[in-house]
């Protein structure tokens, strides 16, 4: 991991700072509840830390856009959120259909009546992190609880679609693309709203739309980077179904950033968000090309 130098960009300096904070927050929890992640799954551990650092940068932008200073407590919340997202994504993507459905069922129960069966050390780590998150913010805040449930519904829809590919294929192409785009938009759009909801007591409506938009852009960029691994595991996404993915993504990113620049108030939060999206776009374009040319594997840890 390269050290941030005086010549590095502001976003790189933020990444550098937040990587340290991420390790300080998550490493003790990993050692206490799921030490095997650190000792025997170094790739996953590093990916978790990188995702958490990324979430902390995004959280910085969202907190400031919402009108709140990004103090140490908020940074710690974002570190936890990143760890939580990584583990949740792994339950949905990495252990097959049955495990994904079982996880979503148990998550629904957690959100419906508060009970959660942590059957493995990985699940225990997930629950410990989520319990800490819930303790940091009034989880009964009207917007936050809605965002959490909307995120769950988006994940359920995504997983359900994987099991219904045959009937999905029978619908018109226009409908298929519309549905895939909506699912991608909701998954990351609501995830970024959950993050912001944990960070600040209230998200003003005027900025909520733009934060949601940024989330949906992140999902499309992410899916473009994972284009080939998604196809390999028969996961259909909007980005691996459109005919010219790179061109489509370019259009989504450019028009999205234009909207953010015109809609959001000028300030540090907006600058960080736009810089982050630009950097993320560039690195995922490179990842897509590298995997296509078989110069890299989908498992590599990307900034």
């Amino acid at each position: 991991m390269p050290a941030a130098t005086s010549t590095s960009s502001p976003i790189e300096r933020l990444y550098h700072r937040y990587r340290r904070g991420t390790v300080e927050t998550l490493h003790p929890l990993v050692l206490a509840h799921y030490p095997a992640l650190y000792r025997t799954h170094q790739d996953e551990y590093r990916k978790m830390m990188e995702l958490s650092a990324k979430m902390t940068v995004v959280g910085h932008a969202c907190a400031e856009i919402s009108g709140y200073a990004y103090d140490e407590r908020r940074q710690m919340i974002a570190h936890l959120f990143g760890g939580c997202c990584f583990l949740a994504d792994s339950f949905i993507d990495d252990f097959g259909m049955a495990a994904a459905e079982a996880y979503l069922g148990r998550l629904e129960r957690l959100l419906t009546d508060g009970w959660f069966d942590a059957r493995t050390p990985r699940e225990e780590l997930f629950y410990v992190i989520i319990a800490r998150l819930f303790a940091e913010r009034n989880v009964l805040n009207v917007d936050l609880r809605q965002a959490i449930l909307l995120l769950l519904r988006a994940q359920q829809r995504d997983v359900r679609l994987r099991g219904e590919l045959r009937s999905f294929r029978r619908t018109s192409r226009r409908r298929q693309l519309g549905l895939l785009r909506e699912i991608a938009r909701n998954r990351s759009g609501h995830a970024i709203l959950v993050l912001t909801g944990f960070l600040v007591p209230r998200i003003p409506s005027v900025v909520l739309r733009y934060i949601f938009l940024a989330g949906s852009i992140i999902m499309h960029i992410d899916d473009h980077g994972d284009h080939y691994s998604d196809l390999h595991y028969r996961r259909v996404t909007y980005m691996n179904q459109v005919s010219c993915p790179a061109k489509t993504l370019g259009r989504i990113v450019r028009s999205g950033i234009r909207e953010l620049l015109t809609g959001l108030p000028e300030g540090n939060g907006r600058n960080i968000l736009v810089e982050f999206l630009t950097k993320y776009y560039v690195t995922r374009l490179k990842k897509h090309r590298a995997v296509k040319a078989q110069r890299a594997v989908a498992w590599a840890v990307y900034e």
Binding site: A98, A99, E108, D113, T120, V142
Partner: protein, 223 residues
């Protein structure tokens, strides 16, 4: 602490039929007077026909409108500010009382056990001495107030326990099996009676812990 609570349910020491906390507020949100579309940044009345179909999976229920929201109002249904407070933010002291009562009812046994343990610990003994010193320094009127508060707490605990016993008797949970509770063996929402706290509630299969997640291990993709 969070893990200890969850384990207590698995071990049958806590009633898992009663909800611990309900974060899901979708029903209430769907009934909110306003619906906010985060895709287009529009605030609609609940029944507005101009809400785009692709936004319906992303709507946020809203109970109030502020000055900024007026700028985001849908031009078709034209929502206007109302004075209703959100369900989740309505402050009623009686709800706090019910909250305390439900926690005492659900966690009474655990709280008592922890209380006994704590009282016998060094920390607990120190606290007891501090409380004694504090109490000794009070004048007669102040002692009367403290006594009154403690008596009220005792009465509250007794009332909760009575209420709990009454509910269990009324639903037949004290003696019969779970299937006797409502005649169908299933309970919707689990908001009424609870079985004896000490009764194990988990099957041996469910109670297994530490097993690895089953299923095909796929290459992780998110980074």
């Amino acid at each position: 602490m969070a893990i200890a609570i969850q384990r207590s349910r698995v071990q049958g020491r806590l009633n898992g039929d009663q909800p611990l906390i309900r974060i899901d507020a979708q029903r209430e949100a769907a009934q909110a007077p306003f619906q906010f579309d985060p895709v287009r940044g529009r605030l609609h009345r609940r029944d507005c026909h101009a809400i785009p179909s692709d936004a319906r999976s992303a709507l946020f229920g809203r109970w109030t409108m502020d000055a900024h929201d007026v700028l985001l109002a849908c031009p078709f249904c034209r929502p206007v500010p109302q004075g209703t407070r959100p369900e989740g933010e309505r402050i009623e002291s009686v709800e706090f009382l019910y909250g305390v009562a439900s926690i005492l009812g659900q966690f009474g046994t655990l709280l008592r056990e922890r209380g006994k343990e704590f009282r016998n610990s060094d920390e607990g003994r120190q606290l007891e001495q501090q409380v004694d010193r504090f109490y000794a320094q009070l004048d007669a009127q102040q002692r009367h107030v403290v006594d009154l508060v403690l008596t009220s707490l005792d009465q509250l605990v007794t009332a909760v326990q009575e209420c709990d016993r009454h509910l269990q008797t009324a639903n037949g949970t004290g003696e019969g099996s779970q299937s006797d509770m409502n005649g169908k063996g299933a309970r919707s929402g689990g908001q009424t009676a609870k079985p004896p706290v000490s009764r194990p509630r988990r099957s041996s299969r469910q109670a297994k812990t530490g097993a690895q997640v089953n299923g095909r291990r796929q290459a992780r993709k998110r980074s």
